[in-house]
């Protein structure tokens, strides 16, 4: 890998250049016979440094300017591999040992702790060596607790503590007992509540001043690069083993064997994915809360458990998630490998860096102090994402800034997500720089860099060959920016999501648009939908029973819904049959709100009447609009989680909308529908009733609703699966039901049924556009479709097939 040798060469070249003058390294001595295997470090309010050592002792010292005079005293002892410690007050600390969160106090004030109280031990302990824990305060008198998973490199015990799950024990890094792989909140009253899961070995956790929780995760299986997570409440952070303890996933069987696409859909992506040659194993992040440690206040530092370096993190919020830039902060051949914890000094001018490697490397244990010399180091001070590139500010003015565009190179790649240990850089691209401009008139301005082809779910590596005006070079020319999401453009119609009794209501430009309803039916539906002219666009009945002028046929036609008449023997289309099943939302995976579009992503279980789960679906709904149109975009994926999913051919299905009666093509006076105003047309030139059973890119019903122009266009994406790559087949009726059906019987020219093998997934994309025109030409459906066809699906980082690796980790493992 070229980039590894590049990093190494640059390390050798830059390591003592300039930065050695800004940050001075000193060793903190220990008695020679004492193994300083640092579990955690913290200062108390009196300036005393506590060191929690993994063999069991907690030592205290008062480090002064001259470290050679340092004296260590034993404060506490007998702790089991404590990798987390917080100081509450002088003589009162909390340590997270392997089996317990312990409050340790020196009650008689003789300098030695005499009380060790069990604050919390409501989690399991399998006996595996890997199950260490880290903590940080939760700001409310309690703690966030990070419990690492166990490793297949060591055994477990015949007698473990807490509930034991055999399936949880399987795999490379495993979660045989509660709650390995989780972040939990141990509240002030001692109660323990799960907070997030999907971690592997998040060795250290920290909370920033805005209340965001941060942790890294070690390199390993299910990790492409080395992730840095902004911990998402109730989120899944990629490693499936811990899901065994999350009830929301109970219907779907053994998490290690989930279809790959399902795991990709469930994954709350990391804020940053650092390349493994930059940071193989992040230790605990530390928030810089001092203005005297360099120009990086508010950013974070993270040590490398495997290398002799510290990386700086610059996260920012983009489109309801956190992501950002990382750059090398400090690298020195004399810095110990195995950096796990960093503690800021009380005067804010230094950091104390603690390392340990026992268990994975040649011993490199101890504490070192790094002090800022007040000589500003030269690097980027910040790097932020813009609509078309990046905004960069340096710590010092540049020399020769007129050539800046020539001195920047930008390339990007992506990592894949799957059970393999680590990922190579995939889809590498070099990006042409379209322009570099000063965004203000100061001597040290912010620079706007615009590039071609900025895309989400990629890591951008910016490399700078610049010097500061005083001749300094950067410690490393690289800045890695993980773009999980793009900046959304400005809009006059912001889309917002709010919670209501029935579900989630989406508004556009302050006006209600659609409600994603998970309570009114036996499946999630969208009802009601309001068009741009303010009218209801869907039939009310049977969800609202007293609206006049509606026919009360087909009680299962409820708003907009996704269902089929027979999937693995159960009927999801009709709601009142002996074999009717139900679709149950198990998890609200993600919402995005406040920008030019809103998004709702959920996980659902398809169950038959007995409650047996037949399949899972993940669906992403996107809502956006302007003055004359409002769109619901659906990306729907069916996953064969519990067994093969057999889809039988039926004409009634699948993604359906029951429109307002005014858009019907035919009235029905005996049902109370006296007059209708709808016309129908499809992309192939069929019209009126003739659109039923035909193949087309879209169907369009238009006319008027409640006396005002209105129309509904239903688009099927060209990539939707079909026999012989044909356009979508439409079950589009004249009485208000319009549905896209990819499983219609072959004898009526549909695509027929199919079976999704266990472990596979099948996806579909559709769009429904509600507009305020009464003429087909004005609605410009052909143009809308051309744009839709070009729009890529949501990015995936799903692992692709690899020679020598079983495609289905699951189908060959039946034990």
């Amino acid at each position: 890998m070229k980039s590894i040798s590049r990093f190494l060469l640059l390390f050798l070249f830059f390591s003592n250049f300039g930065w050695a003058k800004s940050y001075l390294l000193e060793d903190v001595p220990f008695p020679k016979d004492l193994p300083p295997e640092i579990g955690d470090l913290a200062f108390d309010q009196d300036g005393k440094l506590y060191a929690c050592l993994r063999r069991g002792d907690v030592l205290v010292s008062h480090p002064g300017k001259d470290l050679s005079k340092i004296e260590w005293k034993v404060f506490a002892t007998g702790l089991h591999n404590g990798m987390g410690m917080e100081v509450i007050a002088p003589g009162k600390v909390v340590v997270s040992q392997m089996g317990e969160l312990t409050l340790i106090e020196d009650l008689d004030r003789d300098g030695v702790a005499d009380q060790y109280l069990n604050l919390c031990s409501d989690f399991g302990l399998s006996g595996n060596y890997h199950e260490t824990n880290a903590i940080c305060p939760d700001g409310e008198g309690g703690y966030y607790l990070a419990l690492g998973t166990a490793s297949h490199n060591g055994p477990t015990f015949y007698t473990s503590r807490g509930e034991y799950n055999h399936d949880g024990r399987r795999g490379r890094n495993f979660s045989a007992v509660k709650y390995k792989g989780y972040v939990l909140n141990c509240k002030k009253d001692g109660s323990l509540k799960p907070y997030a899961n999907g971690f592997r070995m998040h060795n250290g956790i920290a909370q920033d001043e805005s209340g965001n929780l941060w942790c890294g995760d070690n390199q390993g299986d299910w990790r492409g690069g080395s992730p840095i997570y902004r911990v998402k409440k109730d989120g899944f952070h990629g490693h499936p083993s811990s899901l065994i303890w999350d009830e929301r996933y109970d219907p779907f069987g053994m998490p290690l064997f989930y279809p790959r696409k399902l795991l990709d859909e469930l994954y709350d992506k990391p804020a940053m994915e650092l390349p493994r040659n930059m940071m193989p194993s992040p230790g605990a992040p530390m928030v810089i809360t001092s203005t005297e440690f360099g120009p990086f206040y508010g950013q974070m530092l993270v040590p490398d458990e495997n290398g002799r370096r510290i990386v700086r993190l610059m996260p920012e919020e983009v489109d309801s998630a956190w992501q950002g830039a990382a750059a090398l902060f400090y690298e020195n051949a004399n810095l110990r490998a195995g950096g796990v914890r960093i503690a800021p000094s009380p005067d804010g001018k230094s950091i104390y860096y603690g390392s340990t490697t026992r268990g994975w490397q040649r011993p490199d244990e101890g504490i070192q102090r790094i002090t800022y010399s007040d000589k500003t180091p030269f690097h980027i001070q910040s790097c932020s994402l813009s609509i078309d590139g990046f905004r960069v500010k340096f710590t010092e003015p540049l020399a020769h800034s007129q050539n800046l565009a020539q001195n920047i190179k930008i390339r990007s790649y992506r990592f894949e997500y799957g059970y393999r240990y680590g990922s190579r850089e995939l889809d590498k691209k070099n990006h042409k720089i379209l322009g570099v401009q000063k965004l203000d008139d100061t001597d040290n301005p912010t620079w706007g860099i615009s590039i071609e082809k900025l895309s989400p779910s990629r890591i951008y590596e910016l490399s700078f060959s610049v010097k500061s005006v005083s001749g300094l070079k950067m410690i490393s020319p690289f800045v890695q920016y993980t773009v999980q999401r793009l900046r959304r453009p400005e809009t006059d119609f912001p889309a917002r999501i709010s919670e209501t009794k029935r579900g989630l209501e989406v508004s556009l430009g302050g006006k209600p648009f659609a409600t994603y309803d998970t309570t009114s039916s036996n499946k999630p539906i969208i009802w009601q939908v309001i068009g741009p002219n303010g009218q209801n666009m869907l039939r009310d009945w049977p969800l609202k029973k007293d609206t006049p002028g509606e026919a009360h046929d087909h009680i299962h036609h409820q708003g907009i819904f996704f269902a089929h008449e027979k999937i693995s023997g159960a009927n999801f289309w009709h709601i009142d049959r002996p074999n009717s099943g139900s679709i149950e939302q198990r998890r609200l995976i993600d919402t995005r709100s406040g920008k030019d579009r809103a998004m709702i992503k959920t996980l659902n279980a398809w169950k038959n009447k007995k409650g047996t789960t037949l399949a899972a679906d993940t669906r992403t709904l996107t809502f956006f609009g302007d003055a004359t149109s409002r769109t619901i975009d659906l990306e729907f994926i069916l996953h064969a989680t519990n067994g093969p999913v057999q889809i039988d051919p039926y004409k009634d299905g699948v993604f359906a909308i029951r429109t307002h009666p005014d858009l019907r093509l035919k009235p029905s006076p005996k049902d109370g529908v006296k007059e209708v105003f709808g016309q129908a047309l499809n992309s192939e030139g069929n019209h009126a009733k003739g659109v039923w059973g035909k193949r087309a890119d879209w169907v369009h019903y238009f006319g008027a609703v409640d006396g005002k122009p209105a129309g509904i266009a239903f688009l099927s994406h060209p990539t939707n699966p079909s026999k012989g790559n044909q356009k979508g087949w439409w079950h589009a009726r004249d009485y208000g039901l319009i549905s896209a059906n990819p499983f219609a019987p072959e004898k009526i020219k549909g695509d027929g049924g199919r079976t999704i093998p266990k472990g596979q997934s099948l996806g579909f994309r559709y769009q429904i556009i509600f507009h305020s025109y009464d003429k087909h030409e004005d609605a410009k459906i052909e143009e809308r479709f051309a744009e839709y066809a070009k729009t890529p699906a949501h990015p995936t980082s799903m692992m692709s097939p690899h020679p020598g690796y079983p495609e289905d980790y699951l189908s060959k493992n039946s034990k």
Partner: protein
């Protein structure tokens, strides 16, 4: 031990030769008060050593003594090679996850468990050999696949039957939820353990008894309950009993000698099977894949006999001599693209190195 300072190396080494037992007993902790590199730390009566760690399980009755623990299972061995479960199974090992070991030199050692809230076993003339878990100063890695410390000394008490403490005639095992609360150190710097059983709060103080290999146990509740201590096959003498407080002396109910010395089994010939066993048990598997997968160290796939480039040494073919050198003295050459000084040296028997070479050669 002042003789360990530099100016007196000659005297020091001869003293070390004359008094190996003294050093082996690890007086470091009792003298220094902190844990050292010595993997056999020992406390003293003046300075008790408290060590919370995974503890050995010396054949206790799992149903009655460890009844609050869950049962581990045999599981298919995970093959990092291809991400599959192999046909081989891995069994759990003996060990106690959440217990606290206490030592007062040769006089007394005991293990008290926080899941069962009871004294599990006690012994004299030794404590715990931590080498499986702490490794040694140069290596730092645990020494075997299991890493539970090993008992050494003379085991004279093992917990028998259900929880021996009875409150108003009922064993604690029947009183409701058991919750470990913590411990406090008394004037002798030994722990007093607190726990609750249902509505009752108890304090348990284990101390050495009046004679060698006896225990004096004090149980108090802070209330007025009648407390008794009932252990099958154990001689228990009540020293004092009043509502809310009981003191008993317990006499030995076991007599097992334990040693943690490892017998070195000399292997007679190099073999692929031995090489694979070493690959797994010595920890190589943690950093070196056999299938080309990425990890802390280079993969073995395609290694043997092929060209290698190093950070500062001259490039060469990975012949047998190189393979052995990279196990014995890994810092001699570091492969390009990897970090310097990460791998610890492994001192093995000559035939063990050869066995590993045989194994590496099969990774094509």
């Amino acid at each position: 031990m002042t003789c360990l300072k530099k100016p007196f190396p000659l005297i020091c080494s001869s003293l070390m030769a004359i008094l190996p037992l003294w050093n082996a007993l690890g007086e470091d902790y009792s003298k220094k008060g902190y844990l050292t590199f010595n993997a056999k730390p020992l406390g003293s009566e003046e300075r008790p050593l408290i060590l919370r760690t995974y503890c050995p399980e010396p054949k206790l009755d799992r149903n009655h003594v460890l009844g609050n623990h869950s049962r581990g299972t045999k599981v298919a061995k995970y093959s990092a090679r291809n991400g599959k479960e192999s046909d081989k199974a891995i069994s759990p090992i003996n060990g106690i996850p959440a217990a606290i070991a206490v030592n007062l030199g040769k006089k007394l050692s005991y293990v008290w468990d926080t899941t069962e809230c009871r004294l599990l076993y006690a012994w004299t003339d030794g404590f715990l050999d931590m080498k499986n878990y702490w490794g040694n100063q140069a290596g730092g890695r645990r020494k075997g696949f299991g890493y539970v410390p090993e008992l050494y000394g003379f085991l004279f008490y093992k917990a028998q039957g259900k929880h021996p403490i009875h409150i108003n005639g009922k064993s604690i095992a029947e009183l409701g939820a058991l919750k470990y609360l913590g411990y406090e150190l008394d004037e002798s710097k030994q722990p007093v353990f607190s726990y609750s059983a249902g509505k009752h709060s108890l304090e348990f103080t284990p101390r050495s008894g009046p004679e060698k290999q006896t225990l004096k146990l004090t149980v108090s509740t802070g209330g007025k309950e009648m407390i008794t201590f009932n252990s099958p096959k154990t001689q228990v003498k009540e020293m004092s009993s009043e509502p809310g407080k009981l003191v008993v002396v317990v006499r030995p109910n076991a007599g097992d000698r334990y040693s943690s010395d490892r017998k070195v089994v000399a292997i007679k010939e190099a073999s692929l099977a031995k090489g694979e066993e070493l690959y797994n048990s010595m920890g190589c598997v943690a950093c070196h894949t056999t299938d080309g997968g990425l990890n802390h160290g280079p993969t073995f796939k395609g290694l043997a006999g092929n060209h290698r480039e190093f950070i500062s040494a001259k490039a060469q073919k990975a012949d047998d001599a190189y393979l052995i050198e990279s196990i014995q003295n890994p810092s001699a050459k570091t492969v390009k693209g990897y970090l310097l000084g990460m791998m610890p040296p492994y001192q093995l028997q000559p035939l063990e190195y050869e066995s590993l070479v045989l194994f590496i050669k099969t990774c094509k």
